[in-house]
Amino acid sequence: MDLGLSRPTVEEPVPPPEPERHDQRRVPPGEWVRDNLFNSVLNGILTVVFGVIVVYALFRALRFVFVSARWEVVEANLTNLMVGLYPRSALPRVWLALGILAVAAGLGAGAASRRRRTSASRLDALKRSAPALVGLLVILSFTRTPLPALLTAAVLAVAGLSWLGGSRLPERFSRRLPLVYVAAVFAAYLAMTAAGGPGIDRWGGFLLTTSVAVGGIVLSFPLGVLLGLGRRSSFPAVRTFCVGYIEIIRGVPLITLLFIGSVTIGLFLPPGFNRPELVTRGLVVIILFTGAYLAETVRGGLQSVPVGQTEAAKAIGLSPLKTTFLIVLPQALRNVIPTLVGQFISLFKDTSLLAIIGLIELLGIAQAILFQGDFRGQGLQGETLAFAAFLYWVSCYSMSRAAQRLERRLGVGER
């Protein structure tokens, strides 16, 4: 571990690694196959066996998707899958919220685009947004009226305009971006619920899944940071509390905590408080659960920051609080971005456990629509589950790609 004692004396800027070039020499395909797939009898047999398995699996999958699947179950229930039992009269609110989020995302992407002018990095940006665009197209391919496509186009247009605006904003604006994102999330929530909008207990489907995930991420992160800091606090009481909390939560499976939470959270509230909705209880449990895991990651990050950093901060007179939040935490968090994002992706997928305590999020609705009169008992879970799985994958993969970019950007020119 780097304690600042054994740092290399002079740190020259590291030149960017050469792009890897495999197989500069052109190998004829026939030769390549012979050298790599049939270079011994055993390899030949393995190639044939696995080749057959792969081709067969691919064939079955493609046949399912394009021939045998009865996608009308998804088509007929697309709105259900997207928003669950959300009142249809309030759907404009959802589109408004999407528009608000599109503004923030567009501004962010636009501001970031100033740093990348080369065509290679443009291509990179396109590649990065590809999974999300494919996901959007797949969803739209199940619509029965042109309205959703038109509204989607409108949202994308808003994002595009914001992109243009973002690329013209002054540099110092990009530092405020995280603030803009948080503000946009709150504004979107208000658009959904303010002035008589349906509360989160009436949301469902993919909307509920993403909302719980976003809420979970936004709120578990500060909790994790505080617990991680508390674990290293110089106050024994704070330290003991944090260690105890972390170890207890990490010792119990999430599904158990969800059951406990769904039954008991109301019991801990002072009298006079109403028992919160099931969604709120589930969300609270997810936040408390993820916070404990994030805390351990944050602690690892804190330990990776050399003591010399704290000493230098003290030496210029920074208070302990400022030392932590301006010097130590930024470096600690940057060092653990991959792990943090992995935990956020886990959180996203863990929201499917809410189906088990009776919430109708994406997985819940995918199951529930199989009991509709039209589709009951026809063995259509393949279709609905494949669709749900596809949405989970698109979301998680997009998160992972966004994280890679963040990591690269924060790593530039430092250390």
Partner: protein
Amino acid sequence: MTETRLDADATRVGGTGEAMIVCEGVDKFFGDFQALKGINLQVGTQEVVVVIGPSGSGKSTLIRCINRLEKHDRGRIVVDGVEMSDDVRNISEIRREVGMVFQQFNLFPHMTVLENVTLGPRQVRHWNKRKALELGMQMLERVQIPEQASKYPGQLSGGQQQRVAIARALAMQPKVMLFDEPTSALDPEMIKEVLDAMQELAESGMTMIVVTHEMGFARSVANRVVFMSDGQIVEVGTPEHFFTDPREDRTKLFLSQIL
């Protein structure tokens, strides 16, 4: 042992004659191990004191006690009339007046050079941004790297990083600067640029305590040289005294090893 330590030189004040730093009977323990044993030292305003001595003799510990990176266990430390106590207000007052430069630079890698330099003025002295930036650029010009202002520390050479570290400390407009082996982590060809910056600083009248093995610097810049061994100040004197006629055997042995 103690009789040789407490000679007149140890407490005599150089520079303008007013004491900027006073250490009286300072003891420091790490567990059972005593790292500082009854240190008496006064440093005058505008004086440059170079501290030499073998590794582990307590040089770092001594100067780290002066800005409370280490807490001394016994004795008094007074900086510019403020006595070091457990009171956090005292500590932060002293830290505002005392700049420090470390062997490993300890620049903040997630901030640009200019952000490193302006952090103290902005966050501790609460200056507005314009004023802080102006002063920051001034300090970078003083150590002759204004053109690196928007780079990150990781993109600079060791010598440049150490000069940024000096600028960062100076930006707090301290009355005292402490240097803990500022050139020991540098490649030989970069040592001079850092020593030059320090010499310029000394000539401008800054009060300085410098722990270093650069005897050339000690000879040409120091008002007094302090030799430490085993947590004690063994001998104090002018550079001429040290390099021509050291009195103590331990001093002679040490100098014969490094010269």
